[in-house]
């Protein structure tokens, strides 16, 4: 079938799954075209084509779809429903392909596999195999591509986990003043937590990661926390969380709080249903750890760089002042 051009918007779950999607489609011989990092034009396109009440990240997604649609034969927009027992994606992911088709016209056909492991027909594997059949009629090759893509995906996830500095992993859970003093010389450890499409989209979060790194800050993310540690921390909740993406955010927030890193910034988007609830969970938990600074940055299409810069500086200043004070008084 030659080189089928399949477009993947670089937004939303791209940041969770792209190695899997891309490797799978490419090894089947498709040409994968990614919309690329978010830009001002993309954002404007998205804001213009989505209804105004929808959450900011979905608007960004719309922009990416718009920028791709005339360049590809197919758009790859899976419907992610459920990938683990007892948890879902947010309703907007459940209806994502339908929303896109309803609001945007002259789209190329969508490849929209449903991933819902509660039914075997839509398990991860079966859904992917069905997608493979659209591209190739060699079922052996489809199988192989799927397993290889999955393998490389797990390696990718693991490599992320390995990025966590062993010192942090080994920090005793007990409060230790010695550690604080040591840390004064070391760079600050700050966790950026939130949906991966906020944390890793430098345009949306106004380059927060690279700005922090420039000031010699050790930036930590949820991907660096081992899955079993996240699950263990979540056990502490009075009621389990039923959103896959939020579980990761809350579990890693609890983890970093317990490790008493220097600070946590929770990146949230205005009008996000999940964030409004888990923000409260994390905020309340953070009150139990007075040495860990906690703040929340809310992003939408109007968030200005100057505002975020000022708030970041104030946050860092506060941490440094607090640490000075504490090391002088111990």
């Amino acid at each position: 079938m030659g080189n089928l051009k399949i477009g993947i918007p670089q937004a939303l779950l791209y940041y969770e799954y792209f190695p899997l999607w891309k490797n799978f489609l490419e090894s089947l011989g498709a040409e994968v075209i990614i919309s690329g990092p978010t830009t001002k034009e993309i954002l404007d396109l998205g804001v213009k084509s989505a209804i105004s009440e929808i959450c900011f990240p979905v608007k960004v997604f719309y922009g990416h779809v718009m920028s791709l649609k005339d360049r590809v034969d197919y758009l790859f927009i899976p419907r992610m429903v459920c990938v683990e027992k007892g948890a879902y994606f947010c309703p907007k992911f459940l209806g994502l392909p339908d929303m896109v088709k309803s609001s945007l016209s002259s789209l190329p056909p969508l490849i929209e596999p449903t991933i819902d492991i509660r039914k075997s027909a839509t398990s991860f594997k079966n859904s992917f195999l069905a997608v493979g059949k659209l591209i190739s009629n060699n079922s052996k090759k489809i199988y192989q591509s799927f397993y290889e893509a999955q393998k490389s995906f797990h390696l990718y996830l693991q490599s992320k986990e390995n990025e966590l500095n062993p010192e942090i992993i080994n920090i005793n859970q007990q409060y230790s003043t010695k550690l604080l003093q040591n840390n004064m010389k070391n760079p600050l450890n700050i966790a950026l937590l939130g949906h991966s499409y906020l944390v890793y989209d430098a345009f949306i979060n106004l380059n927060l990661i690279s700005k922090l790194k420039k000031t010699k800050i050790n930036v930590l993310t949820a991907e660096m926390v081992r899955k079993q540690d996240i699950e263990r921390k979540l056990k502490r909740l009075h009621k389990p969380i039923f959103w896959t993406l939020s579980k990761k955010i809350v579990g890693s927030a609890f983890y970093f709080l317990e490790k008493r890193i220097d600070g946590i910034i929770h990146l949230t988007s205005f009008e996000c249903g999940e964030d409004s609830m888990i923000g409260e969970l994390i905020r309340q938990e953070s009150l139990k750890y007075p040495t860990v600074a906690y703040t929340e940055f809310v992003f939408d299409e109007h968030t200005g760089e100057a505002g975020i810069d000022t708030r970041t500086e104030a946050f860092l200043d506060m941490i440094i002042r607090r640490k000075r004070y504490e090391s002088n008084h111990t």
Binding site: I51, C90, I241, D275, G279
Partner: protein
């Protein structure tokens, strides 16, 4: 144990109360929703959470102030926020220093000991048969309330003397509230329906018919939706509700095996939604779309969708409805509600929408007449 439950139209204060007091509990209902309820909720709830959470939190605060010590709330397991409401409210109330127990009714998952304790607290040492009896009475009240409200929606736009329907409805509801026998509930219902039918109506009035769809709580709680059903009635619009508490009760308590009548109706709604939204997205998202499609087929003039600001399922539905409305040439008005929603703005939008429906209807008649001649 002094128990309380959140307000929800006439349902909680009549049927919910009946269930609990028949189980021998002292029931302390929150005061009716007022500006104060809303203000309390807004002050203490997370800023960006959806409106129902805030108002229900306000209910709980006001009920605790009145002396309640046990809160009964409904739970769930996603994918929309509702399933986590109780948990967030519990945390907030605790952090405000209130002493209370919260009983969350939901399909158990995990912590079985906690669930058993809840069940025992609720059951209050009553025998199984009195438990069933209490349940049956409450259920009959739910059925009667919904049926009378539905009838009122049909009569109100036709009434000659403004307010007649609402007056009779109110009388009926208070009679239902004060009885405790299933036979009596049935009799009151019949009598009120008869009374409705005796109301003097305007002759030959061709009415605009509108389907009311959207998020469950906002659709059913008049304080929040500024009495939208009555307003529409007085504008001469016959309203049909797209939401009902019945399927909701059965799903929350996993009573689906009861095979209550509505279930036969449920599938057509999903089926109608299918070409546009084949996936359930939690809350009323998919039914909202399905109901709009069905309403257009059944000769309604338009639909009104009520949405709490940032509501996840309804925003999916709103997006999809844009397309439905375009494809079927069927007007849908989406109304977003938050703590700032003012009555005047709402009135203006409703009137404009109804005017649009009227002129559309008029045009259709003209074309029909022209075709006929």
């Amino acid at each position: 144990m002094k128990v309380t439950i959140p307000n929800l139209g006439n349902l909680a204060s009549i049927a919910g109360k009946s269930l609990l007091s028949n189980l021998g509990h002292e029931v302390i209902l929150p005061p009716s929703n007022t500006k104060r309820t809303l203000d309390l909720g807004v002050r203490y709830a997370p800023e960006y959470c959806c409106l129902p959470l805030k108002i229900v939190l306000g209910n709980f605060i006001e009920a605790l102030e009145k002396g309640a010590d046990t809160i009964i709330m409904v739970g769930g397991w996603g994918p929309c926020r509702f399933g986590y409401y109780a948990e967030i409210q519990r945390m907030i109330l605790k952090s405000l220093g209130y002493k209370f127990e919260m009983i969350v009714l939901e399909v158990p998952r995990g912590n079985l000991i906690r669930i058993l304790r809840y069940v025992n607290l609720l059951r209050n040492k009553q025998s199984l048969s009195s438990l069933i009896n209490a349940g049956e009475i409450a259920w009959s009240k739910v059925v009667a309330i919904e049926e009378l409200e539905k009838e009122a929606l049909r009569i109100r736009p036709r009434e000659n003397i403004k307010g007649e329907t609402s007056r009779i409805l109110k009388k009926g509801l208070s009679l239902i509230d004060n009885t405790n026998s299933i036979g009596e509930i049935e009799r009151i219902k019949q009598q009120i329906i008869d009374d409705f039918n005796k109301i003097k109506v305007k002759k030959n009035k061709e009415l605009i018919k509108v389907k009311l769809v959207g998020e469950f709580y906002v659709a059913l709680e008049p304080f929040v939706n500024h009495n939208i059903e009555e307003k529409l009635g007085y504008l001469g619009v016959e309203v049909e509700r797209g939401v009902s508490i019945k399927p909701w009760i059965t799903s929350v308590f996993s009573l689906n095996f009861l095979k209550v009548g509505y279930q036969k109706e449920k599938n057509p709604i999903e089926k109608a939604a299918n070409p546009y939204l084949p996936q359930s997205v939690g809350g009323e998202g998919q039914p909202t779309v399905g109901n709009v499609v069905l309403a257009s087929e059944k000769g309604f003039d338009g639909a009104i969708q009520v949405v709490p600001f940032t509501c996840m399922p309804e925003i999916v539905a709103e997006t999809v409805n844009k397309k439905v409305s375009e494809d079927l040439d069927f007007p849908v008005l989406t109304l977003i509600f938050d703590e700032q929603t003012g009555e005047e703005g709402l009135n203006t939008r409703l009137e404009a929408f109804i005017d649009l429906l009227k002129s559309k209807k008029y045009d259709r008649h003209l074309t029909a007449r022209r075709l006929a001649s």
